[in-house]
Amino acid sequence: MLSRVADSLYWMSRYVERAENVARFIDVNYNLTLGEGDGLSGQWAPLVDTTGDHEDFKKLYGEASRDNVVQFLAFDERNPNSILSCVSRARESARSVRETITSDMWEALNKFYLMVRSAARSPNRLAGAYAFCDAVRVASHTLIGITYTTMSHGEAWHFLRMGRLIERADKTSRIVDVQYYLLLPSPDDVGSSLDVVRWSALLRSTSALSMYRRVHGQITPNRVADFLILDRDFPRAMRFCVLRAQNSLDEITGARSGTFRRRSEQLFGRMRAVLDYTAIEDVIARGMHEYIDEFQTRLNEIGAAIQADFFTQGDLEPLAQSQRQS
């Protein structure tokens, strides 16, 4: 398929996934802070850290409050990672490849966009943020379902899936990082009295609570981390995302599993192998934050390699062209 089209598909699903994750972050924070009085107003600032946009936020709003964090993360066009911005960009990407996606997918994404845009213009948007986050999650799931059932599971589909899973792995890692830090501020706190409500909120933010219960039963910090980082079957777990994204890459290149020709294949293979042979004790020993920091660095390397292997090879041409002209 066209490099430009693959590029747009990959980013289209990344943006949709990003929007969904931001909605999840807001949602769970609501849950955590409701009924907690004023003591937890500080709980809204870390949310901006989760998405990695704290500098932009500081410049635009200064002190964090519930309302301005929600406005910033959900509806602010000046924040490139707000739900509104992500869904607009996903739709722009989809528009540029409208012939490649199915009309059902386009219609779903277009409705998604119209819903987000009208919510962003509503004067009651902050009061209705809870319902809005729910609607965003449903719209994202609808799109994924429609994509699964209406589009051939060929190259284009695998680029979509790969983009979505890479984005999801990144976002799960961020939420684990930030929430783990908040819930267990110092290493001494490990094993201290457990705030079940908060840990289950973390699981809920990744829709993981009931699946976690089935696998691990009681909630303990290490098991929660184990589940969200290393579970093989849970679709929002980092390992699951890496496994399936690597599988999509293999489908795209036609490479036999365990072999590689491109840099992206090599990096993905390595990451997957490391995850396959890591135990949660290794992660804790390493330090949660350090472990996740490295995971994100590796994931970014993979993203850059995909860019170079599949999307930007065409960029050499215009350069050659302008040289000929001068």
Partner: protein, 487 residues
């Protein structure tokens, strides 16, 4: 219904409350539907179009460039026997224009024997010197054409203009039918409407038919200037319907006289390009140097016969509005037949006598630039102010070759939902013609409607909307009255 009175020929009614025979059963069904129900359906259709993102872009509007094109629920109905004649006329016209373009860039017989003035052709801004001595695959130049037709108050159908470069609108024909079937299924009951849905298949066939002869399994693509083009929706739509790639200039490159696209698995050869980008922007080496949209070396590859461009560069010469007035002669010259479709009488400002007539009668005439589309730059004499007329006359004197003038025509009307009422609104019609191994005319075409009362400007960029267009199939002309009897 309050009294329905058309200021012109009406396509549906002979007189208030008296439908044309072919429309009778449809009108019965329409009138059985309560007005608020009709309005609800109209609303549903609009929501559906918005959700489908069926939009066009308006130039010069920074904010919200994407607009949903207004769609009116009441279809325009064409009777089979009349359509048969129109279709024959379109075939004839496109066949002749194709021969004309081929001749102009090659033997130039029509100029050599003085049938057409040479300076009219060779001096035209749409003439492409680069195409001299070139003959495309199957000698087809105009693969895809859209011919604008109007019906005057006297009931006669006239050709208003030929669009032989990048005619747009066909996607709306297909989408309008789709939306109509989704939101208003009951009006189709017991009617036989000629299908339009085979167009994408026919288009693909036309493109592949005209592939370079060496290509045994040719690859076709649609080429777009990008998402900011006013017809971008249509480009994606056609590529999707045909299952081919939609490319931009930056996706293509020329190597050793062949055209390739950048794919995730390396370069892939392209054999046929349905380009929705103007001649001037195709290739910075041959046309405009500053074109960032095109592909360097494309015209060279084209002239070597290694890639087909549809439509061929240079077809603009045949849809120039000054050449338009010669089309009846062109048809007689190449086909030795009388034209089936009427031309609108046209005054060519390049001609001294005709120009003086235009200037003296500008208040009664419609003055058009010869090389513009989308309704831009048109002066409607009877509606213009004195100042506007004077400015127009000055422009004509400055560059007479750039202008033609035609009498003011009174476009026919079709009932259209206006608030609670059905009111007559003026329409035109753009049928689409494909020319490959054979000629295919899509039944009906795009009906554009001026939604403002009394307005004759149907362009989407200037407040026009569109309607579904039905060519009613009748067996021996009896079916419509039979249906009526059944009600």
């Amino acid at each position: 219904m309050t009294t329905y009175n058309s200021p012109s020929y009406d396509e549906t009614f002979v007189a208030a409350d008296e439908p044309r025979p072919a429309c009778r059963s449809f009108v019965d069904r329409l009138q059985a539907i309560p007005r608020d129900e009709l309005r609800a359906r109209q609303h549903a259709a609009e929501v559906s179009l918005r959700n489908l993102g069926i939009t066009f872009n308006v130039y010069g509007h920074e904010d919200g460039t994407e607009k949903v094109w207004p769609f009116d629920l009441v279809p325009r109905i064409l009777e089979q026997s009349e359509w048969t004649r129109v279709e024959a006329g379109l075939r004839q016209r496109i066949q002749a224009l194709n021969l004309f373009v081929d001749d102009v860039y090659n033997e130039r017989r029509i100029l050599a024997d003085g049938t057409l003035p040479e300076e009219m052709i060779l001096g035209a801004p749409t003439y492409r010197k680069q195409m001299e001595g070139f003959r495309p695959a199957r000698s087809v130049w105009c693969h895809i054409s859209g011919v604008d037709l109007i019906r005057h108050a006297d009931g006669t159908i006239y050709v208003l203009e030929d669009n032989l470069r990048c005619p747009s609108g066909v996607s709306y024909v297909l989408e309008n039918r789709e939306v109509m079937k989704r939101t208003f299924p009951q009006v189709f009951d017991g009617t036989s409407v000629a299908p339009v849905e085979e167009y994408p298949e026919r288009l693909l066939e036309t493109l592949l038919d005209c592939a370079p002869p060496y290509a045994t399994h040719p690859t076709a693509v649609v080429m777009t200037p990008g998402i900011y083009n006013s017809a971008y929706f249509e480009h994606t739509f056609l590529a999707q319907q045909m299952g081919v790639e939609l490319v931009q200039g930056s996706d293509l490159f020329v190597d050793n006289g062949f055209v390739y696209m950048h794919t995730t698995h390396g370069p892939e050869r392209v054999d046929v390009i349905y380009r929705r980008i103007d001649d001037d922007f195709l290739d910075p080496e041959s046309f405009r140097e500053d074109s960032a949209l095109g592909v360097a070396g494309l015209i060279d590859a084209y002239r070597r016969g290694n890639v087909t461009l549809a439509n061929a560069p240079g077809t603009g010469i045949a849809d120039d509005k000054a050449i338009y007035s010669y089309v009846p002669q062109i048809i007689r010259y190449y086909l030795k037949e009388d034209p089936i479709l009427e031309n609108v009488p046209t005054f060519i400002c390049a001609d001294d006598k005709q120009r003086e007539h235009v200037i003296a009668n500008v208040q009664d005439l419609v003055v058009k630039p010869t090389n513009e589309s989308g309704g831009y730059g048109i002066l409607i004499g009877p509606h213009a102010t004195q100042e506007e007329r004077e400015a127009c006359v000055a422009r004509i004197r400055e560059n007479p070759r750039n202008y033609i003038a035609q009498p003011m025509l009174n476009l026919s009307t079709v009932p259209t939902l206006a608030g609670d009422q059905l009111a007559p609104r003026h329409v035109d019609l753009r049928p689409f013609v494909l020319c490959g191994k054979e000629i295919y005319v899509m039944p009906g075409g795009l009906t554009r409607v001026a939604l403002k009362e009394g307005s004759m400007i149907v362009n989407s960029s200037q407040g026009g909307g569109s309607k579904d267009t039905w060519v009613l199939r009748t067996s021996n002309g009896r079916a419509s009255s039979d249906n009526h009897a059944a009600h």
